[in-house]
Amino acid sequence: MNIGIIGAGQVAQAFAHKAIGAGHTVILSSRRGPDNLAALVEGLGPSATAATPAKVAENPVVLLAVPWPEVDAALRSLPTWHGQILIDATNGFGENGLVDFDDGSSSETVAALAPGAHVVKAMNSLFMANFALEPISDGFRRVVFVAGDDSAAKTEVADLFESFGFASIDLGTLRKGGRMQAVGSTLAGHDFFLPWPAPRSFPAFNGER
């Protein structure tokens, strides 16, 4: 699968390594232009290239991995979305600390800035140092939580992370599941594992949606 990545920092690079390791192709972008990513792309190998953010967003699955203060400008600069999946790995953490989304979630803000995209929140509970580690350990799989309002998109993203070797747990909607895994939340910073194979959802929780 071709996966576009908006951003080229720690999260983008950790994701790119995992995706390439699972046999996917990644196309990275940065606001400084593709030429500035030459060294990074070379280091990632032949399954990585660089392009403009607009070109990257044409891919069927796109990872958004930029600092929160850059989210608005990054998404407003893109052409209209036509049903692509946008994996939101951003953290609602601004220059003055945690951003207050009232009763909503940061991913709902992302979704509002990317109409036409199917936004799935993921990767937010994990420290990137842990995400970068081998996801399978002693028969257990490290957990990546996913949340979204489009079931098909959420399933595709869960499948993608499982292709990397992780276990996916569905937390529900962008609002509820997004808030649960966001920076500063109960799940944030903890390293969860599941015996494998495992169910993708907690029945009681999903029954509440």
Binding site: F140, V143, I169, L171, M180, T186, L187, H190, D191, F192, F193, L194, P195, P199, F202, P203, A204, F205, G207, E208
Partner: protein
């Protein structure tokens, strides 16, 4: 606890290196169980079983 949200499901948590340290959370929603297993006094990797 809101009895309407009780389900009989459970999450079991223990830390790597000490499988005897097991915490069972039963009759809880996912959020209630997660809150219990991520209590500040609990450290290490968390294994979920449900």
């Amino acid at each position: 606890m809101d009895t309407q949200s009780r389900t009989g499901q459970q999450i079991i948590q223990y830390c790597y290196g000490d499988p005897n340290e097991v915490l069972k959370v039963e009759d809880a929603t996912f959020e209630q169980a997660i809150t219990a297993v991520t209590a500040p006094s609990k450290t290490g990797n968390i294994i979920l079983k449900f």
